[in-house]
């Protein structure tokens, strides 16, 4: 066993440090500041120094791990990690970089030890990930039940406002992901304007509830129907389009809805949005306020509890949970029905579908309407949860996030969407303390998923029918 890096390895480390220095000196080292006498330049040599040092440490650990020299790989990684806590680093980003980099280098060193020093090629790494993904996918029923148990128990284990709010947010996106999955994952149509249906649902609920004094439980199906109608409206003009052209039109549709919401001041309140959207009652039986203004009794009195504002949050949590599960149940059923199979066939090969006599017009419209209905439900829930909606909430970035969830999850996989949502929505929440850098971690996460799992996290297509006694035989091939 060697105690020193090879000559080439050492040179590689020095080269990386050199490049880092050349790049960082102008980018980090020189900072313009606005002073009374005009634009001045501040020197930040300390930041450059630490950055180059950390980069060197990280690279050294990686090279040492590659050359199977644990006595260098582990200490270098640990020093990098510890300097995140201990060293007088000048900026928060460097601390984050030291922590994250140290963690990655340590993981890399451990992986190397576990593999007995054999280098991890990108291929074998990808295969390893495939095996893991296939195992997770095969265990989907069990994983789903465990998740279900955790999710149901959550409000009792953590009756905490923040935890529940984040969970509600994640569940909303899971529901939206499952809804969009019908268009994108099953029917294979790239929809960049899904947020339009979400917006239609939210505004439908808000306007119906305020203007006609309808309860949430009446408005929910109505919002779904109106969103489905929106799906139909969008569906007709795009029937003949495919691929990029299709995506552009859906993108336009999403923007049209938003622009209408901004400009139709008399109805939608324009950019001011709609205030005081009614909260849902407890199935029309009780209110969640301390002293209900209407005829309904108060929830806490009804159940003999002390008043707590968390009751409504818990109720909302279970509401979105049930809505999401309904969407999941219907999606799974649809996939096993002839229409679901036809959607998948359309995704695979349009010409073959034509020769089999599938009516693609109806198939596309159905996909749009069902998917839009789910989006509408989610929108209605969003409106009642927020109590305030404005066009701000329905920008293109929302469509992009929902689409990212579906694509990252592995198109068509229900469980994949759950995992992707935890990643896309959960990660930035966890890293909220890092403020600006949380979007960076989000971006890094996305890039890593696409590098390691280019077809999505769980991308193996499950057959929609299984034969008894032949379990798994088809999946392996």
């Amino acid at each position: 066993m060697s105690w020193r890096l090879s000559h080439d390895g050492l040179r590689e480390v020095l080269m990386v440090m050199m490049v880092a220095m050349l790049l960082l000196l102008p980018m980090v080292g020189l900072r313009t500041v606005d002073s009374s006498s005009g634009l001045g330049i501040d020197l930040h040599i300390a930041a450059v120094f630490w950055a180059v040092l950390l980069i060197g440490l990280g690279k050294k650990s990686l090279v040492a791990a590659r050359e199977n020299i644990p006595v260098i790989a582990y200490p270098a990684a640990c020093v990098m990690l510890l300097s995140g806590f201990l060293a007088p680093l000048p900026t928060g980003f460097l601390e984050f970089f030291a922590l994250a980099g140290g963690f990655i280098c340590l993981t890399n060193a451990i992986l190397m030890t576990l593999r007995g020093g054999r280098p991890i090629s990108k291929n074998s790494f990808g295969e390893g990930m495939d095996v893991v993904a296939t195992k997770i996918q095969a265990a989907t029923p069990q994983v789903a039940w465990v998740m279900f148990a955790i999710v149901v128990a959550l409000p009792f284990v953590f009756p905490d406002r923040y935890v529940l709010d984040v969970s509600i947010l994640i569940l909303t996106y899971i529901m939206l992901g499952w809804g969009l999955n019908i268009i994108v994952g099953l029917a294979g149509l790239l929809d960049l304007g899904y947020v339009a249906f979400y917006a239609v649902g939210a505004y439908s609920y808000a306007l119906l509830a305020i203007n006609f004094d309808l309860s949430f439980w009446v408005c929910l199906p109505l919002a779904g129907i109106l969103a489905a109608f929106g799906g139909l409206l969008l569906g007709f003009p795009v029937l003949r389009l495919r691929g990029d052209y299709f995506a552009i039109v859906t993108l336009g549709f999403g923007e049209i809805i938003r622009v209408v919401l901004i400009n139709w001041y008399q109805v939608t309140g324009g950019p001011d949005g709609i205030n005081s959207v009614p909260r849902p009652s407890f199935f029309g039986l009780a209110e969640f306020t301390r002293r209900p203004s209407g005829d309904l009794p108060a929830f806490h009195e009804m159940f003999g509890l002390d008043y707590s504002s968390i009751h409504r949050i818990i109720f909302l949590y279970y509401l979105i949970l049930v809505l999401a599960l309904v969407v999941n149940f219907l999606s799974v059923r649809l996939r096993k029905m002839p229409i679901g199979r036809a959607w998948e066939a359309m995704r695979e090969d349009e010409i073959a579908c034509k020769s089999l006599g599938l009516n693609r017009t109806n198939l596309k419209l159905m996909a749009f309407m069902i998917s839009a209905t789910f989006g509408g439900f989610a929108g209605a829930f969003f409106a009642t949860k927020q109590g305030f909606i404005s066009p701000e909430s329905f920008t293109f970035i929302e469509s992009a996030i929902i689409l990212a969830i579906v694509v990252l999850g592995g198109m068509g996989s229900q469980l994949g969407i759950v995992i992707a949502t935890l990643l896309v929505i959960g990660l930035p929440e966890i890293f909220r303390d890092l403020e600006l850098y949380r979007m960076l971690t989000f971006g890094i996460g996305m890039v890593l998923v696409m590098v390691w799992r280019p077809r999505g996290l769980l991308a193996v297509r499950e057959p929609s029918i299984r034969l008894h006694g032949l379990h798994g035989k088809g999946a392996k091939s």
């Binding site: 199979r341 066939a345 073959a352 089999l356 006599g357 009516n359 088809g474 091939s477």
Partner: protein
Amino acid sequence: MLVIENLRTNYGAIEALKGISLDVQEGEIVTLIGANGAGKSTTLMSISGAVPAQSGRIIFDGEDITKLPAHEIVRRKIAQAPEGRRIFPRMTVEENLMLGAMTADPQNYDRNRDEVFELFPRLKERRSQRGGTLSGGEQQMLAIGRALMSEPRLLILDEPSLGLAPMIVRQIFEIIAKVNKERGLTVFMVEQNANQALKIAHRAHVLVTGEITLSGKGAELRANEEVRAAYLEGH
């Protein structure tokens, strides 16, 4: 059963079909042979509604189907195994068959599937295997089986021998002849492999740059000097 009258089809300024007429009687195997670019596939695409006809008529069972959309034509019990097989690679054999049965009565599904499995025992062995993992010959069997799932009265085959080994081609053609003989299924197929196609065809037409130049019984054309020189030598 199927009558094509003076069919003309253009791609922009290019005349792909310059007015062809032919007919297929119930219980027959009719083949259309010709070189690349003669208009064979265009003829089929016009029948199945994928390409609009410029003029002329396509009549099936006395009904004018020239202007019907593709999915309506399949409902008239005309099934097609498209060129290049076009099976669904990520779906299992059985799922592929199910998709073929979309226009048929779901109650007959099990019976039809068992019949297909009887014709192609290989498909039964591989029923839960993904389509993309089948060999070329098996994929062609699947494409034909999938077409049969819609309970067709007329089966249209577009180059069933494309890209297959000679032995497999012979097998496929034997099965086509068998289905025709035992079930009385009418078959209209387009082929470049004239030798094999003419062997099983009752009647055949030769298509040259959008026009039918020669028609006759399969065996007759096989003996014909011109046909031999143009399409059979070297095959």
